[in-house]
């Protein structure tokens, strides 16, 4: 039996056009053999060589591959290689473990840059965008239809999703909004005090929170927290064939999985937005009190003057749009998962990055529209 801790030796000897190989050729000495033989044959001038293996005692499959590799290296130099002799079992191994002469090692073709760009663009338009529009249409259709058929929904699923997506995110949303309001006010306070326009801190904080930060903060937090969870859950269902199972049971997977999440997010995100508005303004109120000597009463009086219903409405409309974006993006990426566990991780990251980006883009567009 071969002992791999003790590496058996090979010996080679080149005479004219014959390379005599003896001893053992296996995983432990294959690399040294290759280096030595290529060095010996560096100045080899003939157009053919015979590798004589009559005295080769042992060869493993890696040794066979090494001989094959040597053959291909010499082929590149237009040197024809012939393996000659060998014991019966060695010949059998060469036959079993060799790559056939006819088999060419296939190399992955490198796609030219512009061809790749064109293909990616085509794939985006024909594949991704189309799938997204189909999903969006499906979600719109079923979310409206199911409003009138509450019996078709799973019992308690809307409540579960509302708790998971909205209620469980409450404390982090409140804390972050309070901090944002506080920081926004601190940054503005010094400038406004220099201008003697202390009271305008109220307008600044209220409008910024109501129409921008109020809807944006919860949306970003929910996209990071629940958007990723939605993508991961759906992706796992996809790669473990649960989605196929639903389909073959005659259940629409989008209706079954995505619609409760849409309801849960659409209902809870506006509430989170309102609470974020209140906490953010409260943060600003505290800074105004301590830094600018504006009492709570004065702050509230000014707030009622500067705040319009329109600002509150804009914030709520934004939060509804953000809710749809978060669930649709998470579901879209989840449904496109492939390649097992690794694919789940990949689409989850993509879902979070894309949904946060889309939230910002949508915010800018709505900001321009409602200006």
């Amino acid at each position: 039996m071969k002992n791999k801790n003790h590496i058996p030796a090979y010996s080679l000897n080149i005479e004219e056009t014959t390379l005599h190989l003896a001893g053992s050729l296996l995983i432990g000495n294959a690399n040294v053999f290759m280096e030595e033989v290529l060095m010996c044959l560096k100045k080899y001038k003939h157009k053919q060589i015979v590798i004589e293996i009559d005295h080769l005692e042992y060869i493993d499959s890696i040794g066979v591959a090494t001989l094959n590799y040597l053959k291909s290296r010499l082929d590149e130099r237009k040197i024809k290689v012939q393996i000659d002799g060998g014991k019966k079992e060695i010949k059998l191994k060469l036959q079993t473990f060799s790559l056939n002469e006819t088999i060419q090692i296939q190399k992955n073709k490198k796609v030219p840059f512009w061809e790749d760009v064109g293909y990616q663009m085509y794939r985006f338009l024909n594949d991704d965008l189309r799938a997204f529009i189909i999903l969006m249409t499906n979600v719109m259709y079923w979310s409206i239809t199911d409003l009138f058929k509450p019996k078709m929904q799973r019992q308690g699923e809307f409540y579960n999703q509302a708790v998971l997506i909205g209620v469980n995110a409450l404390w982090i949303v409140l804390a972050m909004s309070f901090i944002i309001g506080l920081v926004l006010a601190i940054q503005s306070a010094t400038q406004l005090r220099n201008l003697g326009a202390n009271i305008y801190i109220v307008d600044l904080i209220v409008i910024a929170m109501m129409s921008e930060m109020g809807p944006l903060m919860p949306a970003i937090l929910v996209a990071g927290r629940s958007g990723s969870a939605i993508a991961a859950e759906i992706a796992t269902m996809k790669v473990t064939s649960e989605m196929d199972a639903l389909k073959t049971m005659g259940i629409n997977p989008v209706r079954f999985v995505v619609i409760p999440k849409i309801y849960g997010t659409i209902v809870t995100l506006p509430f989170l937005t309102i609470l974020a508005d209140i906490l953010g303004i409260f943060g600003g109120m505290i800074v105004a009190y301590f830094y600018l000597d504006i009492s709570f009463q004065v702050f509230i009086n000014r707030m009622t003057e500067s705040l319009y219903n329109r600002d509150i409405l804009i914030g709520l409309v934004k939060s509804l749009v953000f809710a749809c974006i978060i669930v649709l993006t998470g579901s879209f990426f989840g449904l496109r998962a492939k390649h097992g566990a690794e694919g789940v991780g990949k689409v989850t990251t993509q879902a979070v990055v894309v949904s946060i980006s889309l939230v910002f883009i949508a915010d800018s567009i709505m900001g321009l529209l409602f200006y």
Binding site: M1, K2, K4, N5, L26, I27, A30, N31, M34, D60, S61, I62, V64, A65, T66, N68, Y69, S72, E89, L92, K93, T96, F97, S98, L99, N100, I103, I105, Q106, N108, V239, K338, H339, G340, A341, E342, G343
Partner: protein, 244 residues
């Protein structure tokens, strides 16, 4: 005949439940030992003990003359270099292509050049008839292809000892026959000692040199295939009769 694996009075329990009790048998050099038994008999737990994936609670497992319970990390690593494992569900890394998966043990544990490793990988892929899968990811393979890719990875280092966990499960009869031929070739030509856990009776007839039958965590029979076919033990008799 030289023993490659010696198992002496191995017992194991999980959560207070006895899974293996007093298991003793040997695996011999250049032989194919088939471990048989019904589902839940304790085969997988036994395999995990042989692979050093579970701590030995009672008894002794000696591989290549060394007790695996007393092995240091380095010794265990050296042992793993001489062992190949063909997992039931492949155990291929999803993030790597099939080619990269097969190359991985050589890249990590040998000083071979990348070009030579590449050549070895192609030759192993040819051996398992999977030349078109080099650049594919495991998730893009069918069940049978996945099995063959996993076998290619298990044998890439030419191990002295090969463990196969349900190699034939999910394979069509033609693929199963060629897989069995390959296992026989590995034993004949590379002198591998092979331990196979399987339910496929047709496979057992083709490849088994020695059979170890486990029932309720105990070895109820061990011997050659001929002896197994004539065994009076009720479970063994039932197993082969039902399979016929």
């Amino acid at each position: 005949m030289r023993e490659i694996i010696k198992i002496k009075s191995l017992s194991a329990s999980l959560g207070g439940r006895n899974i293996l009790s007093d298991i003793s048998f040997n695996v011999y050099d250049k032989e194919i030992t088939v471990i048989l038994g019904r589902s839940g008999a304790g085969k997988s737990v036994l395999l995990k003990h042989l692979l050093g994936l579970m701590d030995i609670q009672e008894g002794e497992v000696v591989i290549f003359g060394k007790d695996i319970a007393e092995m240091q990390e380095e010794e265990q690593k050296r042992l793993y270099f001489q062992m190949g494992v063909f997992y039931q569900n492949g155990g291929l890394l999803n993030a790597l292509t099939v080619g990269e998966n097969i190359a991985l043990p050589l890249e990590q544990n040998s000083n071979l050049s990348h070009e030579l490793i590449d050549h070895i990988v192609w030759s192993k892929l040819k051996l398992v008839n999977l030349l078109n899968a080099y650049y594919l990811y495991p998730s893009q393979l069918s069940g049978g292809m996945l099995k063959r890719a996993a076998l290619a990875r298990a044998i890439v280092m030419d191990p002295l000892l090969l463990f196969c966990d349900e190699p034939g499960a999910g394979l069509d009869p033609i693929s199963l026959v060629s897989l069995d031929k390959l296992i026989l070739n590995l034993r004949e030509q590379l002198g591998m000692s092979i331990v196979v856990v399987t339910h496929e009776v047709s496979s057992i007839f083709r490849i088994a040199d020695r059979i170890v039958f486990i029932d309720s965590g105990q070895v109820v029979f061990q011997g050659t295939l001929e002896e197994a076919l004539q065994a009076q033990n009720k479970q063994v008799k039932n197993y082969f009769d039902t399979a016929k």
